[in-house]
């Protein structure tokens, strides 16, 4: 169940003036500000000296983040159920499920690590199965049910896997944690928790650069035992 009754917000970020944007990036603004800045830079790259490091940076970010859509890009209507709530949006055909969640719906719990399906930070459940949301186009999932880390808790009550990760310190920096937890929920449901080795094998799609693996295994074991 979703913990919030709020409408999923649309993308109504006010435009930044470029001087504001440059200032904000220099003082390392919030993630939201950084995203807004990158969008802004991508959108105004023609104003930056061609060939300058900043224009290359802006171009690179535009490429890697999906960037601002060229006018020729197609957008299509898309309906999804996200964390129990019906959502109707217009998406650029190139939008991955991860970018839809983070950039358009502001559900920033699912993380962009590698953006190439190698780290698992973007793991979400679609129709109950775990997938890498960074390698799946949003439009493909029309009519499907998506559960993200934001949708696991029941109100203020943590999902048993979330509680177990807290109890066992299954993280350090926390960046991989939403993906680890979504993956663990599916791993337990699949029944791949009969031994430490089996848990390690079936959680191998979720990397943790902090190396919290022993605690993650302990957390999954406990959550699995409680749900059995």
């Amino acid at each position: 169940m979703n913990s919030s009754d709020d409408e999923v917000p649309g993308d109504e970020t006010p435009p930044l003036r470029s001087s504001d944007a440059f200032h904000e990036i220099l003082i390392f603004g919030s993630p939201e500000t950084r995203r807004r800045f990158l969008k802004q830079v991508a959108g105004t790259s023609v104003a930056i000296t061609v060939g300058s490091p900043l224009s290359l940076f802006a171009q690179r970010m535009s490429e890697t983040a999906g960037g601002s859509a060229p006018s020729s890009a197609a957008t299509l209507p898309l309906r999804l159920k996200i964390n129990g709530k019906d959502v109707a949006v217009e998406v650029d055909t190139r939008t991955t499920l991860l970018d839809l969640l983070r950039e358009q719906l502001h559900l920033t719990g699912s993380k962009k690590g590698c953006d190439h399906g190698q780290c698992g930070a973007c793991t979400v459940l679609v129709n109950g199965r775990r997938i890498n949301s960074c390698l799946s186009l949003a439009i493909v999932h029309d009519g499907e049910e998506v559960t993200t880390i934001e949708g696991l808790a029941n109100g203020e009550q943590l999902h048993p896997v979330q509680a177990a990760f807290v109890e066992h310190d299954g993280f350090q920096c926390g960046y991989c944690t939403p993906g680890q937890i979504c993956s663990a929920v599916a791993c337990i449901k699949e029944g791949h928790v009969k031994s430490d080795d089996e848990i390690r094998e079936w959680m191998s799609g979720n990397l943790c650069r902090c190396g919290a693996y022993p605690n993650i295994v302990d957390a999954i074991k406990e959550a699995a035992a409680k749900s059995a």
Binding site: T93, N132, I139, G205
Partner: protein
């Protein structure tokens, strides 16, 4: 990512009409490789034809005991755990589970896995100017570059890339048949003829035509495939591509080898059916001596490069170990 138009196919005929009329259209299934390559700028389709809603995900017995048909859209995770596959073709189940991660296997399809492109660094990153596969005539960056993961069998001076799939290695050992459909009709492609060696056209991975849609993969009935095994050797215990892999099925009666199926992965541009090794095994007494001799025969033509010559001995040892594992099964 380049802009593209998106079409959702409702039946195979409609899907193949789109690819027949647009040469730069591509089918989209799981997308785990295609979307990644589109992000990298390696693949630049102008149209994606989403085939995910087609009714091609069944796994079922073929009539008259002729084997098992796997629908092209059956997800790797579903194929790996299907009772017909687990019981009759354990080598395929094991190969699928050795590949990628649970999340990727939930997306990846049978048809898509057949079409996985190489993980050669020089192909995957357009920042490298040389790649005959990505840009024909530009040269091969791997030939004199960092070629640790590259081919030792069947390669050419134009390309030493390897096929990265685990599933394909098992399919090669099992003599699978790929069923395809286009606006022109249907045809069957034996797995041995599906993937190509690089030769002078490494840009062409398979003999599938651009407008053809894979609809299914058929596994023939092979009673002794219940005694089969997939061994994968890689840089870490899980979630890594094979340096060398071996798919084996053996028919052993009273200690004597009646029939053998052996295929190698991570060593060539296509899943490498080890026919010389198979011929060397038949009639021999199952044991390390025969296994080692067969491996030596198969790898006699192998050629290594600066960083991958270790694969030659590794492939031999992996073959001996996989064959020994199957020979000891009861």
């Amino acid at each position: 990512m380049n802009p593209f138009s998106y079409t959702r196919a409702t039946d195979p005929q409609q899907a193949t009409q789109a690819t027949a009329t647009n040469a730069s259209a591509k089918f989209l299934a799981g997308g785990t490789n295609l979307i990644d390559l589109m992000k990298m700028g390696v693949e630049r389709p102008t149209q994606l034809v989403d085939v995910n809603r087609l009714s091609l995900a069944q796994i079922e017995e073929l009539p008259n005991g002729c084997g098992v048909r796997i629908g092209a859209l059956a997800r790797n995770s579903d194929v790996a755990q299907h009772p017909l596959i687990v019981q009759r073709y354990p080598v395929l189940s094991q190969a699928l589970l050795a590949g990628a991660s649970p999340q990727l296997r939930n997306l990846a399809t049978t048809g898509g896995n057949l079409l996985q492109r190489t993980r050669c660094y020089y192909f995957y990153d357009p920042a490298f100017p040389q790649c005959n596969k990505r840009n024909p005539g530009s040269g091969c960056g791997a030939l004199n570059g960092f070629n640790r993961i590259h081919a030792i069998l069947g390669q050419s001076e134009q390309c030493i890339a390897t096929n990265p799939s685990d599933m394909n290695v098992a399919l090669a050992a099992l003599d699978a048949v790929v069923q395809v459909q286009s606006a022109k009709g249907t045809r069957s492609i034996p797995i041995a003829d599906f993937h190509r060696l690089p030769g002078d056209t490494p840009n062409v991975d398979t003999n599938l035509q651009a407008d053809e849609l894979i609809t299914a993969v058929d596994l023939p009935a092979i009673p002794f495939a219940t005694r089969s095994h997939y061994l994968k050797v890689r840089d870490r215990a899980s979630y890594a591509f094979a340096l060398v892999s071996v798919a084996v099925a053996l028919d052993v009666q009273n200690g004597r080898i009646n029939a053998a199926r052996v295929a190698l992965g991570g060593v060539a541009h296509k899943p490498w059916r080890a026919q010389k090794a198979e011929a060397a095994l038949v009639g021999k007494t199952a044991g390390e001596k025969a296994f080692r001799a067969a491996a030596e025969t198969e790898l006699a033509a192998a050629k290594g490069y600066k960083h991958n010559s270790f694969k030659i001995e590794l492939a031999k040892r992996a073959m001996v170990r996989a064959l020994s594992t199957v020979a000891q099964m009861t």
